[in-house]
Symmetry: C2
Subunit: 230 residues, 2 copies
């Protein structure tokens, strides 16, 4: 069975979990605190980053880009249309453009800052001198999210899903980032109705249930986090 | 003919140029100064980033990840083995792991810092108050590069090319970043013999000639920059 090294509040790990579930692939999970710089983990991945999978033949596959393309190639099924980077070559390019939007632009401007201030610092409290989260940076990152939420709303208003008319890796990427923010209570849902309707559709998918059950010590999610009718 | 919007000292644009040349695809180039935030360019790509291509059917393809996968799918040739993400599914995952290493880890720790201090600030001199490069940050980024150059040397010592025994996108990614540093005189070649031998092999490829002829106003490359026998 595939083994996934992950961290619950890591948007990249979450996307791999979603993808494996949607592809109906069984896998087990190992919770890796990358801040511990565990020697055994660094031997597997010198970059020290998540996610990482070891497949049933003991092949190690490292980082989201490589893992997602591996999953797509290995488990896609042309007969049942099971693929989340699908469509013609331009449709696939559009999905990949949006994956990159979330994993780079959105991550840099929003998720990374909020996770660094709230989560990374908490897990590094024994090593760093100052681990109080800088709430001004958290506020600015939340402000940055408005522009992205506007853009997602604009996309969803003209398409069924973010990357086009089919559910795709672009939705998984967006949902992975937004669900991390939501766990930390950093999405003001009342302001974003279109986004909320899209997120409700994602939340009600069986692949999303395990993510809604995540719980990490020291951080209790808001009550609505796990509720598909939030 | 494909049109590529690029900037000469942009590692991501350089990788697309290399890939198109290696795939024998004719293309024209438009030099885009992203600091100008040109309205016509933002209409093409709301993220305002490079590279971007418009293909012969007027399809717009945005960002390296989407462009490279598009080029690989469209122009690969199984008969002649023309592909730079090739091999079995694990070999491809290894190439993609290393692409991500250079485009994220190496970029964040080295290229991005040096380009920001030297190039971005120069091009923003009319808009920013303080545009003197912070040479201490440049020095630290160069220091960071040692660890990466050691790692590349380690890889090349056990393989013909960085991603395996075949030339791949991992080599193009590494060469794209390193050639930007080299243009700015920030690689101490005397220290890195294995790396230098690999780079000489890349430099002597016809696909690399246009990159060796790059010249941007305000920045003259070192004399050895364009010499394959440096």
């Amino acid at each position: 069975m595939i083994k996934l090294f992950h961290f619950p509040i890591c948007p990249f790990s979450r996307r791999v979990r979603l993808s494996l579930c949607e592809m109906n692939v069984a896998f087990s999970m190992i919770n890796e605190n990358i801040w511990d710089e565990r020697r055994e983990f660094l031997a597997l991945n010198p970059a020290g980053t998540l996610p990482l999978i070891i497949d049933e033949d003991d092949n190690i596959i490292i980082n989201t880009y490589a893992i997602i393309e591996y999953i797509e190639e290995k488990f896609k099924d042309d007969n049942t249309n099971l693929s989340y980077i699908s469509g013609d070559i331009y449709q696939k390019a559009e999905i990949r453009r949006l994956i990159d939007w979330f994993d780079n632009k959105f991550h840099r401007e929003v998720t990374k800052v909020i996770i660094r201030e709230l989560i990374d610092k908490y897990y590094q409290k024994d090593e760093l001198d100052n681990t109080s989260p800088n709430m001004e940076l958290v506020r600015l990152a939340q402000e940055n999210s408005s522009y992205h939420f506007d853009y997602i709303s604009h996309l969803i208003n003209s398409r069924r899903w973010i990357g086009g008319d089919a559910l795709s890796q672009a939705d998984f990427a967006a949902a992975a980032h937004i669900s991390c923010l939501d766990y930390l209570g950093k999405v003001d849902w009342d302001r974003w109705v279109t986004l909320k309707n899209w997120y409700a559709r994602i939340k009600s998918r069986p692949s999303f249930s395990p993510i809604l059950e995540d719980n990490i010590a020291g951080f209790r999610p808001p009550a609505y986090y796990s509720n598909p009718d939030f």
